[in-house]
C-alpha cells in the first residue's frame, strides 16, 4: 500500500504541475463564465437598446377617432410615435428611416369602420433592420408588445360594449387550459415542455456531456502521464523498482482519475457559471420555478448502477490511455494516437445525446453497445423516464469483462521486456520508413 501511495503521489504531483495539464484544468473555469458573461452582456445591451425608447413611425390612412385613440394608447405605453404623411408605402418607409424609427406601422383605411362592425382591422408592421443584431429583435419585441396590449384594450372595449356583464377574457379565451404531465405514476403540475427543458438539459445533455468530458480528460491524462515517462526516459527506471507492474498501472489509473475528477468538477463549475450568466440575461423567458422538486426521484438502485457503469467506463478509458502512452515514444505521438480512441468514444455519446438509440441503424447501435462509455449515458438518460433498460444492466458485466481484458493487456504491455521490444519495433519501423522516404527522394532528385 505504501508503495502504491508513493506512486500515486508521484503521478498526481507530476501531472498537476504540468502546464500542459493544468492549463486544460483551469481554462474552462475562467473561460466559460467569461464567455457567458460577455455573450449575455452584449446580447442584453443589444436587446435593451432596441427595446428602450422604441421609435415608431405611423402612416395613418384612416385618420379617425379610433385610429387616433390607438396612437395615443401606444404613446401612453411608452412608444415614441411619429406620424408620417405619405401617399404610398415607399415614401413612408423613406420618411421612417429619416426619422430614425425602428418600425413603421401602417393603419389601413377602414380601421375604425372594421372595429365598430366587429371585424378585424388591418394593421401592417414594418421593422427596420439596420443591422443583423439582436437590437432589431428587441425593437420587434417592443412593437409587438405595444400592439398586443393595445389590441387587448380594444377587445375589452368592444366586448364590454356588446355586453357589459360578461368578462372579456371569457369571450376572448373561453378555455381555461391547465396542462399537467404524467411521469411514471406521478402527476406533475407542469406542462411537458417545461419538464422537457429540465430533463433535456439535466439528464439528456448535461450528464452525457459531463461524462464525455470526463472520459476524454481521463484518457488524455493517462496517455500523457505514460508518454511523458517514455519521453523523459523515466519508465525504464520505474520498472526496475521493487513494485509490480500492477502497482504502476494502478497508480497511473488512480492518478489520472483523481485529476480527471478535479478537471470535471472545474469544468462543471465553469459550465454552470456560463449557463447562469446566460440565463440571467434579460429577454430570455424561461419557465419560472424549479420543477425538479416535483419530478419523481429515480430509484436508488439506478444510482448504484450509474456509479458502477461510470467507474467501469473511466477504468476502461484510463487503461486505453495508459496503453497508448506506453506505446508512444513521446507526448506528441500519444496525442496523435489519442484521436483514434477519442473519436469512437465521442460518436456514441453524441448519438445518444441528440437521438433515440432504438431508431439508429444497426451498425451504429452495435458501436454504441460495444463501448463501456455508452452505458453511463444510457443509464443517465433512462433512469428518470423509464425503468432502466435490460441491455443497460447487462452492459455492466460486459463492461467489467472488457475493462478487465484491457487492464490485463495494458499490464502485459507494462512488462519491461514487452514494452522495450514493442517500442524498439516501432522505432525501427519509423526509421525504416524514414530511410525508404529518403531513398525515394534521392531517386526522384536523381
Amino acid at each position: 500500500m505504501r508503495k502504491l501511495v508513493s506512486l500515486v503521489e508521484k503521478e498526481v504531483k507530476d501531472l498537476l504541475r504540468d502546464p500542459r495539464i493544468y492549463i486544460g484544468l483551469v481554462v474552462p473555469v475562467i473561460l466559460m463564465p467569461l464567455l457567458g458573461f460577455l455573450m449575455s452582456t452584449s446580447m442584453s445591451s443589444s436587446i435593451e437598446a432596441g427595446a428602450k425608447g422604441v421609435k415608431i413611425a405611423v402612416l395613418d390612412y384612416d385618420k379617425t377617432v379610433l385610429s387616433n385613440t390607438f396612437l395615443n394608447l401606444s404613446m401612453s405605453l411608452g412608444a415614441d410615435i411619429r406620424k408620417v404623411d405619405a401617399t404610398d408605402l415607399e415614401t413612408a418607409v423613406d420618411e421612417a428611416r429619416n426619422l430614425g424609427s425602428n418600425a413603421l406601422i401602417v393603419i389601413g383605411k377602414g380601421f375604425e369602420n372594421d372595429l365598430v362592425n366587429f371585424r378585424r382591422a388591418s394593421v401592417e408592421v414594418y421593422i427596420v433592420m439596420e443591422t443583423m443584431s439582436l437590437g432589431s429583435i428587441g425593437a420587434y419585441s417592443a412593437v409587438e408588445g405595444v400592439l398586443s396590449v393595445s389590441s387587448k384594450i380594444f377587445s375589452n372595449m368592444l366586448i364590454s360594449k356588446l355586453n357589459p356583464n360578461i368578462s372579456p377574457d371569457a369571450v376572448r379565451d373561453p378555455f381555461n387550459i391547465s396542462t399537467r404531465s404524467i411521469l411514471k405514476d406521478k402527476i406533475i403540475e407542469a406542462p411537458p415542455q417545461v419538464l422537457f427543458n429540465q430533463l433535456l438539459m439535466g439528464y439528456s445533455i448535461m450528464i452525457p456531456l459531463l461524462l464525455l468530458m470526463l472520459s476524454i480528460t481521463v484518457v488524455q491524462f493517462a496517455a500523457t502521464a505514460t508518454a511523458v515517462e517514455n519521453e523523459e526516459k523515466t519508465l525504464e527506471t520505474l520498472l526496475t523498482f521493487p513494485v509490480t507492474r500492477y502497482d504502476i498501472l494502478l497508480a497511473k489509473l488512480l492518478g489520472s482519475s483523481i485529476l480527471a475528477v478535479i478537471g470535471s468538477i472545474l469544468f462543471t463549475g465553469g459550465f454552470i457559471l456560463y449557463f447562469n450568466n446566460m440565463l440571467a440575461m434579460s429577454g430570455f423567458n424561461f419557465p419560472a420555478g424549479d420543477f425538479s422538486q416535483l419530478l419523481p426521484s429515480p430509484p436508488p438502485e439506478s444510482f448504484i448502477l450509474l456509479a458502477a457503469s461510470l467507474i467501469l467506463a473511466i477504468l476502461f478509458v484510463t487503461s486505453l490511455g495508459v496503453a497508448i502512452g506506453a506505446l508512444s515514444s513521446d507526448v506528441r505521438m500519444a496525442n496523435s494516437l489519442l484521436g483514434v480512441v477519442i473519436v469512437p468514444i465521442m460518436i456514441p455519446s453524441f448519438l445518444m445525446m441528440y437521438g433515440d438509440l432504438g431508431t439508429l441503424p444497426l451498425a451504429l447501435q452495435l458501436l454504441v453497445y460495444a463501448l463501456p462509455t455508452s452505458y453511463p449515458i444510457m443509464m443517465a438518460k433512462d433512469m428518470m423516464m423509464t425503468p432502466i433498460p435490460f441491455e443497460a444492466i447487462l452492459g455492466i458485466p460486459y463492461s467489467a469483462a472488457l475493462t478487465v481484458l484491457v487492464l490485463y493487456a495494458t499490464s502485459m504491455l507494462l512488462a519491461p521486456e514487452k514494452l522495450l521490444t514493442v517500442q524498439y519495433g516501432l522505432r525501427l519501423r519509423g526509421t525504416r520508413r524514414q530511410r525508404v522516404r529518403e531513398l525515394e527522394n534521392q531517386t526522384t532528385v536523381g
Binding site: L7, D14, E232, L239, P242, P416
Partner: protein, 244 residues
C-alpha cells in the same frame, strides 16, 4: 543458490531483437565487493547485458543469476536488492529533487526514518545542496545525472548496475561520483558499470570485460590485462584485442 561470493552469474547469454543478435553467448561472473566494468563501443551489447541484469529484458537463451535468484523466474525477488541507472535516465520535470528521492525511498524502505536517512544520504551524494528543493526541470544535464546516481546508491543496493554513471558530468563531479562508487563498494556493495571512459574504468574497476559485437572478448583485472597484452593502458588493450 550459487557460490557464496558470486553476486552475478551469467552463462551462455544470448539476446536477439528480431534479426539482430545484441548479445551472443556471453558468460561472466561478478564477485561480491567488486566493481566490474563493461567496456566497448556503442552498440557492442553492454546496455543489453546490464538491462538483463536489471530484470528489464529477458534473455533469448542462457542463464542469468543475480544474488542467488534466477533473473527470469525470480525477478521480483531481485529488484529490492538492486538498483539500475540507465544511460539516458531522465527525471520527473515537475517534481523537486527531494520529492523524487523521497518517493523512491518510500518504495524501498518500510519506515519513514529509514526513508528520510536515505534521502539525506542521496542529497549528500548528489552535492546539490539547496537546489535539491527546486523542480528537476530546472536542473542541468549534470545535475540530473547526479540526482540519478544518488537515487541509485541511496538505497544501499547489494548490486548497483550503472550504465555510464559519469556521462555528461564535468571532471569535478565525475571524480565525486567515482569516489561515491568506491565508498559504496567499501561499505559492502557490488557494482557493475559500463563506460566509454577508459581512465575511469582503470581507476575504478577491479575487473573489466571487453565487449564487442555482442561478445565478451577479454576479461580480467586492468593491471593483469595490460601486462598480458603488453600495453600501457586499457584503450590500447581494447584496440589490440578487437583488431585481432
Amino acid at each position: 543458490m550459487t557460490g557464496a561470493r558470486s553476486i552475478v552469474v551469467v552463462r551462455n547469454l544470448v539476446k536477439r531483437f528480431g534479426d539482430l543478435t545484441a548479445v551472443d553467448n556471453v558468460s561472466l561472473k561478478i564477485e561480491e565487493g567488486e566493481v566490474f566494468g563493461l567496456i566497448g563501443p556503442n552498440g557492442a551489447g553492454k546496455t543489453t547485458i546490464l538491462r538483463i541484469m536489471a530484470t528489464l529484458l529477458l534473455p533469448t537463451s542462457g542463464y542469468v543469476n543475480i544474488l542467488g535468484y534466477d533473473a527470469v523466474k525470480e525477478a521480483g525477488k531481485i529488484r529490492p536488492f538492486i538498483s539500475y541507472l540507465a544511460e539516458d535516465a531522465g527525471t520527473y520535470r515537475n517534481l523537486s529533487g527531494r520529492e523524487y528521492l523521497l518517493i523512491v525511498a518510500r518504495i524501498y524502505f518500510d519506515s519513514n526514518t529509514e526513508a528520510s536517512r536515505a534521502v539525506e544520504e542521496a542529497i549528500r551524494i548528489s552535492g546539490l545542496g539547496e537546489r535539491v528543493d527546486d523542480k528537476m526541470k530546472t536542473y542541468s544535464k549534470g545535475m540530473k545525472r547526479r540526482i540519478q546516481v544518488a537515487r541509485a546508491l541511496m538505497t544501499r543496493p547489494r548490486l548497483a548496475i550503472l550504465d555510464e554513471p559519469t556521462a555528461g558530468l564535468d571532471v569535478f563531479h565525475a571524480k565525486h561520483i567515482r569516489e561515491v562508487v568506491s565508498r559504496h563498494v567499501k561499505e559492502g556493495g557490488t557494482v557493475v558499470l559500463s563506460s566509454h571512459n577508459m581512465l575511469e574504468v582503470e581507476y575504478l574497476c577491479t575487473r573489466v570485460a571487453f565487449v564487442h559485437r555482442g561478445h565478451v572478448l577479454f576479461e580480467g583485472a586492468p593491471r593483469a590485462i595490460k601486462n598480458e597484452l603488453g600495453v600501457s593502458n586499457l584503450e590500447e588493450a581494447f584496440i589490440k584485442v578487437t583488431s585481432r
